[in-house]
């Protein structure tokens, strides 16, 4: 008996709790199973899949920074065909909501991905990645401009009945403009934020540290930026927000709910502490119970009413 309802419903996406493993940090859900049951999560967002296989960027692909991590993986993935053959069948026994994260290099790519996956029965939602900073074309470009963001979201919307989450890039002047465009084009929810473009220079070699020169910053270093973007977006759009960026403890998660997130993503924190989802879920519940809340909805957006 908990007395506190952790369940979250975003259109057809039903999750037992608001915790989602962030895309790209959790493989296809298979890796962490030895450490945490997948059922600890409300949902798992799989590594981005693109129409064709991608080899990704040159190494080094990672650079640790103060309370942060720069990555430039470059969307390495086996491509749609191999994903469906080798990984999708295993999603049957994930015991959590399976969110397939898709990306592409043209509006047609997104259309193709959406229509190909629409009929799959073991997928609970699609997350549309228009925010990857580590690829030359496509990716973040679609998320940097309201018209192209809307065009991609609309193309996916027209080709699937699955719940549709648009994952936005923080590397824009005004996040609310993009969020409104995505919601207007039919997104059921918005994920905020993908990584912030950054770079690091090796003072010994005097060259950029990452093989890709620039990378995406994640981890606690970006959290205040992410909280601000969730807060601003909550004011402007009506669809639920999935907040992410540097969440490592339950306090951070609560901060995102207060800013307006209906669910939260945990990415980089898994690397240091694979038990993060378990600890964070317990902390959220204890906080809510101590304050006499009966459901998560009581918390969402509370920072706006004061």
């Amino acid at each position: 008996m908990t007395g506190f309802d952790m369940a979250v419903k975003i259109k057809g996406l039903h999750m037992k709790n608001p915790l989602i493993a962030c895309s790209g940090t959790y493989g296809f859900g298979e890796i962490y199973r030895d450490y945490v049951p997948t059922s600890a999560w409300g949902g798992i967002a799989l590594k981005t899949v693109t129409p064709k296989p991608r080899a990704g960027n040159p190494v080094p692909r990672l650079r640790e920074t103060p309370a942060g991590l720069l990555n430039a993986i470059g969307l390495e993935n086996p491509g749609l065909k191999a994903f469906r053959q080798s990984y999708l069948p295993a999603m049957d026994d994930m015991k959590t909501a399976v969110i397939v994260n898709i990306s592409g290099f043209s509006v047609d790519d997104f259309k193709y991905m959406a229509s190909s996956l629409d009929q799959e029965t073991n997928i609970d939602a699609l997350e549309v990645n228009i925010s990857c900073p580590n690829i030359k074309h496509g990716g973040m470009q679609f998320g940097s401009d309201p018209e192209s963001a809307a065009a991609v979201v609309r193309a996916v919307r027209e080709n699937t009945y699955l719940p549709l989450i648009a994952k936005l890039s923080p590397n824009v002047t005004d996040i609310t403009v993009i969020a409104k465009a995505a919601a207007g084009a039919g997104a059921d929810a918005i994920s905020l934020i993908n990584t912030l473009v950054g770079m690091s220079i090796d003072i010994d070699t005097q060259k950029p540290f990452l093989g890709n020169t620039t990378g995406g910053l994640s981890g606690p270093a970006v959290r205040p930026v992410a909280v601000r973007m969730v807060y601003q977006t909550y004011k402007e759009v009506d669809v639920p927000i999935i907040g992410m960026g540097g969440i490592t403890g339950w306090q951070d998660a609560v901060e995102f709910f207060l800013a307006g997130a209906s669910a939260i993503g945990i990415g980089t924190a898994n690397f240091g502490n694979p038990l993060a989802p378990v600890e964070i879920a317990q902390g959220i519940e204890a906080y809510a119970l101590a304050r006499g809340y009966s459901s998560l909805a009581d918390l969402v957006g509370k920072a706006h009413s004061n």
Binding site: Y26, Y35, V59, L62, N71
Partner: protein, 288 residues
Amino acid sequence: MLSQEKILINRPMGPAHNSQGLFKLVLHGRVAEEAQPGQFVTVRTSPSSDPLLRRPLSIAGIDKKAGEITLYYRVKGQGTTLLARQPEGTYLSVLGPLGQGFSLPAVSPDPASRTANPAELILAAGGIGIFALYSLLEYLLKNHLTDRIPVTVLWGGLDKAFLDCATTDLLFQLPKNNVVLCTMDGSYGYEGLVTEPLEQLLSAGRKGRETMVAACGPNVMLQAVTELCQRFYVSSEICMEEYMACGLGACRGCVCRLKDETGGVKHGRVCLEGPVFTGEEVVWHDRI
């Protein structure tokens, strides 16, 4: 596994006046049960999120009976500096054993088996690469395989002070002639790289013998070692290093290039498919 391991020893290696920033760390817990030579662990050096990531360290010694693993590390930056301050008797969060280790000669070889033990083993190490090879050497000595298989260690370091400090008792258990030391500055042993004595060994009539080379060190050295081995038709296993985040295969940060079945190139994750790869499968040219 994710384990809280008790720190039994966490002290500078070598003589007090010459620790070279090298530390010995002995941990007691469950990781030893499953640990294999060549595998590694990742340790959390701080309970806070700075530093954020775990630090990968090779398993250098395994005592399954006592439930102990030994790691050796060089204090480099923030993470290892914090690690060096962890008091003995406290607990450390350890993830592991991780990755694939070296293939091990069988203790009692099955005569019917087609995979015979190598006729001879050469362990080639550059710098602190010796730490990963200590676990293999320990296995060979503990199981008295060194009585049956000639084992030679080739180890190169910057200077004598480094070698003095990073050495352990294991090396003294081999016949003296089977340990070949090199220094870059000539302050001890051969002056130069380990690849020079390796080439001499391989060219001295070993061609075609069932010699096996196991190596760990900087990438340039590993590349030179595998190229030499291929030239002499000798098989090799190399223990690689790359920047990693999850250490489990999820993030695809630590990839290296491998030959695939069709003659093309594929990626291997150093943390999951490695850190030990065969010298034959690694593709060195044009880094990805």
